[in-house]
């Protein structure tokens, strides 16, 4: 019970800290925080496949990008309202991930990675070549935001709420019987049919759910950036999403947010000071992999645990330094050796 309450307290604290950002940070950083949350959501959708199902998708930025492109096209080109454009964008991502999923889920391991990579490249190629719709490398600009989401802090709070709701939903999915099935597939795919599970169907559903959340992130990104281009759907974005999950800790969901924060903060902050920010970022990655091979989240948890152990050791050493008190000495008859008592920390 106490662990559950500690977790709840942690979540409340994190939400409070998130809500405080617009009060303490300049608008540039409030925008950066929105971006971290949006890509954190994309990375979480990847984690459902990578951490829970054992499939590494290398084309998720394409699904994310399809939602962004649909929103951009309907909103900026056709002038439709957000209440149409945003659901249509998410629907578009679902359709694309349905088609991609059908092709990809019959495979696993390296083959799954290669097929999703190819699917991502397909979308990228379309973004580049289908000029009449996508505007090629000029992209689609002029995306509007609803009137109540124009200022950085307004948009940030909307994204924060969106992220929290999606994170809660993904958490519920991952810890449902369906999520247990996914972890079973990750552990031993060959065993699952013998327990009566249609593995291909479960992998497809996981892909679809993951694609849906990637689409939500993509729709939010279109409104955030107000501009969509082939760079939104390129392979580097997909790889970056996978990197965020691995850095933050796969199979943890919320670790993806840490990974997103680490990558986007280093890129945006360190590049202010040096052109060689890629070297700094690479060094950081190597350090994380060396010292926290299972990701930032678990690494930090271990760090906190070690700190606690160290503190309790220090307190024990401290208790040794205190003079030995034996409150009974005075009452002992002379000549008898008092037994020293020592109070150790529990």
């Amino acid at each position: 019970m106490s662990i559950r309450w500690r977790k709840r307290a942690g979540i409340a604290l994190a939400l409070l800290a998130g809500a405080a950002i617009p009060y303490v940070a300049p608008p540039v950083y409030v925008n950066l925080a929105s971006e971290i949350l949006i890509f954190g959501l994309l990375a979480m959708s990847i984690d459902l496949l990578l951490g829970y199902t054992g499939l590494v998708p290398l084309g998720h930025a394409a699904i994310f990008g399809v939602a962004a492109y649909v929103v951009a096209y309907l909103n900026a080109r056709m002038g439709l309202s957000h209440t149409v454009a945003i659901p249509a964008g998410i629907l578009g991502a679902l359709i694309v991930s349905g088609v991609f999923g059908l092709l990809a889920v019959r495979t696993a391991g390296l083959y799954f990675m290669l097929i999703t990579l190819a699917e991502g490249m397909l979308v990228w190629g379309l973004a580049y070549r289908w000029t009449s719709v996508t505007g090629s490398e000029n992209g689609i600009g002029g995306i509007t935001r609803p009137e109540f989401l124009i200022l950085p802090w307004q948009f940030y709070y909307a994204v924060l709420v969106l992220f929290a709701v999606c994170a809660w939903m993904l958490h519920r999915i991952a810890h449902s019987p369906f999520g247990l099935t996914l972890r079973g597939i990750r552990d031993n795919e060959a065993r699952m049919p013998m327990l009566g599970y249609n593995v291909t169907l479960h992998k497809f559903l996981a892909f679809l759910i993951s694609g849906g959340f990637a689409g939500i992130a993509g729709a939010a990104y279109a409104l955030y950036n107000r501009f969509v281009s082939p760079a939104t759907v390129e392979f580097a974005r997909s790889a970056e999403g996978v990197l965020m999950v691995i850095l933050g800790g796969s199979g943890t969901l919320i670790g993806a947010l840490l990974g997103s924060g680490l990558i986007l903060l280093t890129r945006n902050v360190i590049s202010l000071y040096t052109d060689r920010w890629l070297i700094v970022m690479g060094t950081l990655f190597v350090l994380v992999i060396l010292f926290m091979p299972d990701g930032l989240l678990r690494g930090l948890e271990r760090g906190v645990h070690r700190l606690r152990v160290a503190v309790s050791h220090l307190r024990f050493l401290g208790s040794l330094l205190r003079p030995i008190r034996s409150p009974t000495t005075a009452k002992e008859p002379a000549g008898e050796v008092p037994v020293p008592t020592r109070h150790e920390t529990p």
């Binding site: 247990l180 099935t181 060959a190 065993r191 049919p193 013998m194 327990l195 009566g196």
Partner: protein, 238 residues
Amino acid sequence: MLEIEDLHSYYGLSHILQGISMVVPPGRVIALLGRNGMGKTTLVRSIMGLRPPEIRQGRIRYNGHDLVGRPPHEISRLGISLIPQGRRVFPSLTVEENLRIAWRPPRDGQREAWTVERVYELFPRLAERRSQRAKTLSGGEQQMLAIGRALMGNPDLLLLDEPSEGLAPLLVQLLRDQLLALKGTGLAMLLVEQNVGLAMALADEVYLLEKGMIVYHGTPSDLQSRPELMGRYLGLSK
């Protein structure tokens, strides 16, 4: 009831099972004995619908359903559970998750349904380890978990592929007692084994498999009275 009729299974060009016919009646324990490489696991895989092997001829019927050509998950849902060779528990799931993931409702109300609690009653050791990851269990405990997981599917027929493999003699004895207890619940079993002692203690009928063919079918006591068969097909000498 499982009926296999003139089954021919191939691995590529190799003709592994060359016309197997056997019957597992409801509630009975049938042992299939044979040395390495005689096709025991191939038979289990053929029943379960796993590929390879490829079934080119013959019939497998279970309670009126034709099994040949069905995918494994459908065969499992008909009420057949497999305890695979080498146990194959889910390593990073906890003991309890390993059991929960396998739960299926019983198809009829004839026997008491298996639940996590009932598996813990059968294997108290698993209850002690319920929140431990399965990869941290000992070999004997993993075998208990593999059996418990198979039971959670509430099967009518249990296929056991060399359950005694890699277990210490004391644990094989324990396994025998547990399987006898399961037999008492009226569960039918097809026990594929190399451990003759275990098979003899449990089985109502014995088949001997030699190079993909059934060379003997009889009762355990009859087989025991014919040492020449045991010597020729199982490499045992009295």
